[in-house]
């Protein structure tokens, strides 16, 4: 088939012409050439036929089977497959509960009245005239030791 020198340039633009994607000036030139060139007209028809064939061979067969299998996979994955939003909420709930527990423990430790010091207990012992030993359960463990009883402590 005889061709003109511009045929390769025209055929390079035929796919874009099919998509109406050429600038207006080029569109006119390419169309005018195709109308007068048997080879390029055949190539244009061949391209259009190729596109039709590609569209006609679109293969979505097996979609129903794939959809059913996907449904089973989502159902069986259950906990792992649930959208992350649920895991995020559960984790937040756990974090909130842990924070609340820490606040409660901190409150119990720091808001409760502190145990009396040994000096305070000695003073109380003298003022109440009761042996220091009787006040022993009120001692904090850190205050006890071999020298915990001073010479003046009541016994």
């Amino acid at each position: 088939m005889n061709t003109r020198p511009e045929c390769p340039l025209v055929r390079e633009r035929l796919p874009a012409l099919l998509e109406n994607d050429l600038p207006p000036g080029e569109t006119l030139l390419v169309r005018a050439h195709v109308e007068g060139c048997e080879g390029c007209a055949a190539e244009q028809e061949g391209l259009a036929g190729l596109v039709r064939e590609i569209v006609a061979t679109r293969d979505e067969s097996g979609f129903e089977a794939a959809r059913v299998a996907l449904g089973r996979a989502l159902d069986s994955n259950g906990q792992d497959a649930r959208p992350r939003v649920l895991s995020i909420l559960t984790r937040r709930h756990r974090l909130v509960a842990a924070a609340a527990a820490l606040v409660a423990i901190a409150g119990a430790l720091f808001l409760a009245p502190p145990a009396p010091t040994l000096d305070e207990l000695r003073l109380a012992s003298r003022e109440l005239s009761v042996p220091l030993d009787s006040l022993r359960p009120a001692f904090r463990l850190s205050d006890l030791g071999a020298a915990s009883l001073a010479p003046g402590d009541a016994r």
Binding site: V51, E53, I54, V55, T57, V85
Partner: protein, 192 residues
């Protein structure tokens, strides 16, 4: 009542399984067709289909713009297909089409041979498509199988719109050369 992609995406993002299933029904066939083009084998395509939608289900809570659920799904599918090729290390069904020709039909069995020609032509087309570079193949399928605009195709696979058009046109030219090797190739310099 037909819900928009946006409505379904918002519902699915909040954990709505029925909404997610509706998105699968709406976009699944096109994405399966795309995966089929990309990998060639129906069983591989179905495996990748599962992968795509399991990833989508796990990740939909992170979808920022519910209006873009379709491009988002296409991006997942394109990435899944790309990883499939990377794992396999090569294109599937690579073989040469050089010299493949159909015999001239016998008048006594024209209908049967027409059917055979159609089947062989379709198989030849699929083999030719499989030989395309992955990016050209992806753009071609997204354009012709899913009818996506070039702007959306470009966003889904991470290239410019101009490149998406270029890949599509080059894919069509390559397929023409592969399927019609000698009949229409212009010979420059011939007298008019």
């Amino acid at each position: 009542m037909v819900h928009s992609d946006r409505t379904l995406a918002i519902d699915a993002r909040a954990g709505g399984r029925e909404a997610f299933d509706a998105l699968v029904t709406r976009h699944g066939p096109g994405l399966l067709a795309f995966l089929r083009r990309m990998v060639g084998r129906a069983d591989d395509a179905q495996d990748l289909f599962q992968d795509v939608f399991l990833r989508a289900f796990k990740g939909i809570s992170r979808l920022e713009d519910p209006d873009r659920v379709r491009p988002w799904l296409v991006t997942i599918a394109a990435n899944v297909a790309r990883r499939h090729f990377e794992r396999r290390g090569r294109q599937p069904h690579e073989h040469s089409l050089e010299g493949e020709q159909l015999d001239a039909p016998d008048d006594s069995a024209v209908n049967a041979l027409d059917d055979l020609e159609t089947t062989e032509r379709r198989e030849g087309l699929q083999r030719a498509i499989e030989r395309l570079p992955p990016r050209q193949k992806a753009v071609l399928s997204l354009r012709l199988d899913l009818e996506l605009p070039f702007q959306e195709i470009a966003g889904a696979i991470g290239i410019s719109e101009e490149n998406a058009r270029a890949h599509h046109y080059q894919a069509l030219r390559s397929l023409r050369r592969m399927l019609e090797p000698a009949s229409t190739a212009p010979r420059t310099g011939d007298a008019t």
